[in-house]
Symmetry: C2
Subunit: 348 residues, 2 copies
């Protein structure tokens, strides 16, 4: 069978040099289009290189240049569509700038997260982007000791060391909550994420803050917790539904949670938004195809990934333009049909 042998030694510039009767440095020059080599020899060399299927060794090159043209991206899990969108944005501009990206999941396990960062350090990545880390501050220290530029996405960094791009969670939650209040709801609830993420804290804070100032709102507003997935959202919604004073409007930590809530409400035989309004956060691609289409706060996920990579690229360029440390996006309120005025019957 003609399967390629893994260990087969790739051809090197020396091999080409021999064939072309020149020194290996001339080959090196020719292959990088240096003007210092005679057009004819250059052509000859390139020809041999092409026909022999030569490919520079990025590893050898990196050893001398001290640059790998490589970045590391840490996510909790790529199976979360939010992270996937962000990574997609990162990858896009990384590719445009000639960087390759290492992807590693932490599975929200601090040990594993430290592990992948160490592995990135050994691989001498030029930069690191950490997305939605659930790991705390001890880790922050490690990162800053690495002397590798790091950009955080949606991750509060108490240290104030690194660069970050994030969404304004508080403002976003306010917008959603005001929208709900504006519709006439008075019994609101929040379904959070139980892992104590800063983003959850902030969204809840925005929610509570608006509730505090609304005389008509029932206080304290109910708060229950999911785990950021649809299953968690469904289960949390179940708790809300089981109480005798169920809310008429629910704001969910994210769209996945909201989808679970939607599902639980339907299973319970109630309608959205007639019986209960539901709002999410993120605006995942799938959210406009929910039933009913989900009202949510759109985060520019792709754009945030892109910006993070652009910052990194700046940091890595010969003369960095000193990007802003904290880059905060404000999301857009997307009103669809999962939120509506509370029905009279329910309200009384």
């Amino acid at each position: 069978m003609s399967f390629p042998v893994p260990g087969r030694k790739p051809i090197s510039i020396k091999d080409i040099a021999r064939q072309a009767n020149v020194s290996h440095s001339t080959v090196s020059r020719a292959l990088r289009n240096s003007p210092l080599v005679h057009p004819d020899t250059a052509e000859k060399i390139r020809e041999i290189a092409t026909s022999s299927g030569y490919r520079v060794s990025a590893v050898a090159r990196s050893l001398v240049s001290r640059r790998t043209q490589t970045i590391g991206v840490v996510v909790t899990t790529i199976a979360d569509p939010f992270n996937a969108e962000v990574v997609s944005g990162i990858e896009d501009v990384a590719n445009a700038f000639g960087y390759s990206v290492f992807l590693a999941s932490s599975q929200s396990d601090p040990v594993r997260e430290l592990g992948v960062v160490h592995s990135f350090a050994e691989r001498r990545v030029d930069g690191i982007i950490v997305n939605s880390s659930r790991v705390g501050s001890l880790y922050q220290e490690l990162l800053s000791s690495l002397s590798i530029p790091v950009v955080f996405i949606n991750n509060h960094n108490p240290g104030g060391f690194a660069y970050s791009v994030s969404i304004d969670d508080v403002a976003g939650a306010r917008q959603i909550t005001e929208h709900l209040l504006g519709l006439g709801h008075t019994r609101l609830a929040y379904i959070g994420d139980r892992f104590g993420l800063q983003s959850n804290l902030d969204r809840m804070a925005g929610f509570q803050d608006v509730i505090e100032r609304a005389p008509q709102a029932r206080r304290p507003a109910r708060v229950v917790y999911g785990d950021g997935t649809s299953a968690g959202g469904a289960q949390a919604m179940g708790e809300l539904l089981a109480s005798n004073q169920a809310p008429t409007a629910v704001f969910c930590y994210n769209d996945r949670t909201a989808q679970g809530a939607l599902s639980a409400i339907h299973e319970h035989g109630l309608r959205v938004p007639e019986d209960i309004s539901v709002a999410g956060f993120d605006d995942l691609p799938v959210s406009s195809f929910c039933h009913p289409p989900l009202t949510t706060l759109r985060q520019p996920m792709n754009g945030m990934g892109r910006q993070a990579m652009e910052i990194l690229e700046q940091l890595l360029s010969r003369n960095p333009k000193a990007p802003d440390m904290a880059n905060k996006f404000v999301g857009d309120l997307i009103i669809r049909r999962s939120t509506g005025v509370p029905s009279i019957g329910k309200q009384l």
Copy 2:
């Protein structure tokens, strides 16, 4: 500001050797726990290494070992939840085996796909996994010329060169179609993917085949095309709905398409499954939270990713156990509530 300087030179075994008053080769040995070094010196060396934050340079090591402990993964886009799940499985076992993964998206652009493969080759990845390529056979040639082991996922390879893991699309489509027929439907339709993927061809073939043998089924069955996304599915479903002889059951190329179809049906004021039954293919995590929960054919996405990486690892090990070339999974029919018996009114 104390931001780490990108260019700062990492410390090397030579630095440690100097501090420990030994040669750099002794340091190299000690750090890899060679028994050839005296416990005391070894301890001393490790101490210095730890306290100084030393990290081996994987690039220098790779240069001599001719192994990068790195694999490259090509996907069309990571924003497709199917790919994300697969990559998640790959990453998981890669991590367990000590490999890092490069992720690159082709955006279904052949030129870009060739580009990322070349970049993988230059980076001297030990192996490559190609997921759901939309690129044809010319590319097949490139890959086999690379002398790097390649494993394909859900990608027919006419050449028969490389290893592959895939789902049995034909059998899966048959199961879905038989389920629909068994419910009593006679007017079925298929919403395909217009990009001519082999998987689309196979699913359609399985569908058609079952229809052919069913005397009660209306023939030919309607076939319209989406693009594999929910938006495409919604649009294609719209076409079906516009005709005066709309089907009572629709089988969709994948779950994303099915979600779009669901949405279009609801927009049209019809109910699922009372008016129209809808079935998908994949069983994405979100599919059980659709309204109604989606009947579909479950692919072990994560498992397929895992298996692909396991095969690669075998191929890369010192004494490969010669894995099977073609590894075909058969999916599970997951019956939820988006399919049901056709209503009498509609049937007449």
